[in-house]
Symmetry: C2
Subunit: 614 residues, 2 copies
Amino acid sequence: MTQTLEHPTGTPGPGPAPADRRARAWFAAFEDALTQRDTHRAAGMFAATSFWRDLVAFTWNITTVEDPAGVEDLLESTVAGVDPSRFELAEPAEEADGVVTAWFTFETAVGRGRGLARLREEDGQDRAWTFLTALHELKGHEEPRGTRRAMGAEHGADPDRTTWLEARRAEDEAMGTTLQPYVLVVGGGQGGIALGARLRQLGVPALVIDKHERPGDQWRHRYKSLCLHDPVWYDHLPYLEFPDNWPVFAPKDKIGDWLEMYTRVMEVPYWSSTTATSASYDEQAGGWRVEIERDGSPVTLRPTHLVMATGMSGKPNVPVVPGQDVFRGEQHHSSAHPGPDAYAGKRCVVIGSNNSAFDICGALWEHGADVTMVQRSSTHIVKSASLMEHGLGDLYSERALEAGMTTEKADLVFASLPYRIMHEFQIPAYEKMAEVDADFYERLEKAGFRHDWGDDGSGLFMKYLRRGSGYYIDVGSAELVADGEVKLAHGQVDHLTEDTVVLEDGTELPADLVVYATGYGSMNGWAADLISQEVADRVGKVWGLGSDTTKDPGPWEGEQRNMWKPTQQPHLWFHGGNLHQSRHYSLYLALQLKARHAGLDTPTYHLQEVHHLC
Amino acid sequence: MTQTLEHPTGTPGPGPAPADRRARAWFAAFEDALTQRDTHRAAGMFAATSFWRDLVAFTWNITTVEDPAGVEDLLESTVAGVDPSRFELAEPAEEADGVVTAWFTFETAVGRGRGLARLREEDGQDRAWTFLTALHELKGHEEPRGTRRAMGAEHGADPDRTTWLEARRAEDEAMGTTLQPYVLVVGGGQGGIALGARLRQLGVPALVIDKHERPGDQWRHRYKSLCLHDPVWYDHLPYLEFPDNWPVFAPKDKIGDWLEMYTRVMEVPYWSSTTATSASYDEQAGGWRVEIERDGSPVTLRPTHLVMATGMSGKPNVPVVPGQDVFRGEQHHSSAHPGPDAYAGKRCVVIGSNNSAFDICGALWEHGADVTMVQRSSTHIVKSASLMEHGLGDLYSERALEAGMTTEKADLVFASLPYRIMHEFQIPAYEKMAEVDADFYERLEKAGFRHDWGDDGSGLFMKYLRRGSGYYIDVGSAELVADGEVKLAHGQVDHLTEDTVVLEDGTELPADLVVYATGYGSMNGWAADLISQEVADRVGKVWGLGSDTTKDPGPWEGEQRNMWKPTQQPHLWFHGGNLHQSRHYSLYLALQLKARHAGLDTPTYHLQEVHHLC
């Protein structure tokens, strides 16, 4: 724990700052209650409205409980097994606007954790308002980093020496034959790669498989003008941050190169050109039998755990529309769109008005196509620069770095905001953006575009967490709609003719190309395809918070459904999301898998309940 | 400048610490003298014995001048053009053992610099004892990093958009045809790659060519047990440090992968499988005509500058020995040694007792060969762990990082120690190693090995700087000699017979294999091969300090001969060394090339004189 300066007796000088004293007192009392196993007293130290979010440290789950009653329930179930101890401030606590913010560390029976607490005075006592506990490492299984890093060279003379290259080659050859992966990760985009790197570090035998030829092709194969929509500071992968000469919004092929090289230098076992064709769970053996095709040859793998990292977007939604069989032009889902090159001078109708729709419309327009966007429902748009400034700037930016906000700290701050009240923190940022970009929104609406800020005005990030859709981060294409360069139509598609798209109101849109930018289903659709509909139904909907807003039906879940945590299907996990989530949550998923590999007891508190099938 | 806390008048409290006050006063007076162009007064602020090392900031050269007279001469020649200003402390100065250490920044007419000064009281006044000035960046040509990084995405809709990939491909196609490199770097090991990355950042059109198939093959193709002899903290490349899970001594193939990855993500223009066959300087045009073979096809390049980065070791020294034509076994130079695999059970004689000899002997022994080392002269050996602890630990280690010693700071501290007195700082470290490893040295000498600590006891690093040879960092093989597992013979080779090596004293060593681990020549040998003997002679010996010690004849040069600075051959440069030097000195070489590309005036103070041809 960082100590503030202590003055020798008799010398005038400040003691610990009040905020720091308050935080220390709170943690001392909290630890005392836990040590006494007095869960009621410990729970009473939380505010009437309060949130404890635990990332795997207490619950072997990703869970938020609320209010003293929720805290007491969590502690009742976990405290004896977890045996928490050594709560210490990681740096001096600080107070602002009546809230004391305290970074802390702690230990459990099997691990070490990090946390962030916000305390407020209530009824004359300091009480926890938000409380984050996050497992950081397992005792005896610390990662070989820094002072623990491998020596590399094996000094001394050894006639049985195996070089690094020989060992890597032997492992490559053994994998899938004499060596079975304990974890099979299906999907080798940023999610699979980040998890693969963490499992490698933790010494868990794992294999990442991907259908593309090379790591990074997941990005390379997308439309050619694509750049990341999130800025670089938000996008780092574990262990190796982008260098400071990396562009703010990296072009897709550059990200592709980075992912390929990252996979190599992190020594992630990775099979390219490999597809999983079927999987079944052997209840008796407690593991999976997965049939794959590697470079066209069948291989059977027997991993204990199966991780679906095939994209949080799930399977493409391709609408069924009468007349699709008579339409003479080209039609495809946005995920299969080859890019604009072939469509100069062609009449292109893009169904949808979210990210993919805008990006595709913009690229087609740039290549001289005649483009019409069909808006079916309202969409939320923010300017990229405004989002970067007002949405992420405090945590992920040069100014955040300058203020000492490391990526790890930013991730924990982000994780410490309870989903239940997160929208309250988001709304002001979007109100600010509405103000700053008022002219843009006015022009957009004047052009007939139906714009929204989310059901409760909480904007883009909540839409992302709740439904993973319904927005566009404008990097230019929204201006084309505002200016009328990309034409706009409204409503559902009624049917297609040989050469038109006909909307429900009778509008006919002449078309050589129809792109269905109609979104994606739930990730458990991947499980239905690979395993069975039964397993997909057992797991239920993946993603979303149960916020009872558009496309995110209640009841309230408290966490993203089924992501990075145990599901109702033993030994099946879901991983994915943007680069930030791939980085941060891969840690907790990796630690859960490592704990199982190491044979630790991992009783799950509040296993995911299933309220929706998809 | 970092300010110490200023207390309002009347409040008790410390003012700036005395060391800080002293440093500020010194710099204020120094800057005043410079502004007045009073070079005599400025020079008088240096101690009677003192050293000013300048890295390109004042001299457009890498130069050390000594004592007030040397300082006055440097300033007389440079101060008007350089117009130095804004000397400010970069952090509070500190005092220890009577020496005030001050990190500072400054500006010149065209650039910004960083420096490190050590002040001592002499005749009642603070005077500079060591003084380092290093150019950091050129004004108006700052690197796109951090807040200056590229945006990547070009927001907005643009029918003429060129994607990153299209731009990279167009550049690849243009290079060597419609686009000539301003700088051609011959050799794509760590030196060429690091320089290529810096030139890329600075926007200088450059091309790195290398004979191997892939970047990193320079390491991959070496003997299979090779690991780096320097620890990871010392080995970072510019812009992208090794992650903290990187091993201390990385295996060669892992370094190969890193270099390949680094080349790609840094977008270094790099032609593999390419050899330079001849080069000539066109005095009139002020540039080079270089004939190369790329994948077997001839290409003519016309770079303005030519950088030899073909290895500081220079060309292999292969001794001419009577009987080489009658010897029936295999014989080759250590640089051509294919590794031990084919020599199990064979009688192997390795001529030499430096790094390569030991590494090859060790690997052969591990593979069951019968190995004899022929020691021709005494060698200096240090244990790898001891070197890491006592030689580098204060600057390059986890504990250095913990103490706030960044790589950049460590490099500047290292650079700030004047070569003239560097041995004085080195001697105690090696005395410590002699003490710690006394048992090892005793056993080694008992086995008949002739061991030395350098002409003046200053050990390995001085040998490296002076002659680049004469030592071995023991990672195990010296123990084999000490234990008699690898046999030892002494003396020069007299001749070879059909199946023996015969030494001058008549000793006959039966041999199936002879390896000449007999070292390398001066780097200007590469220039003789590629350009002409005339140019090689004009440049003279490369490397070494003129220390008047074994293999480093005087007169004293003050800096490493011809490295990273202008030579007597216009537009010809030499670059190389270990990873540390490749990282740090590539900055100063890149800035010199950038300045020329930008058309800045770059008058060279104290152009390298030539005292030795090789």
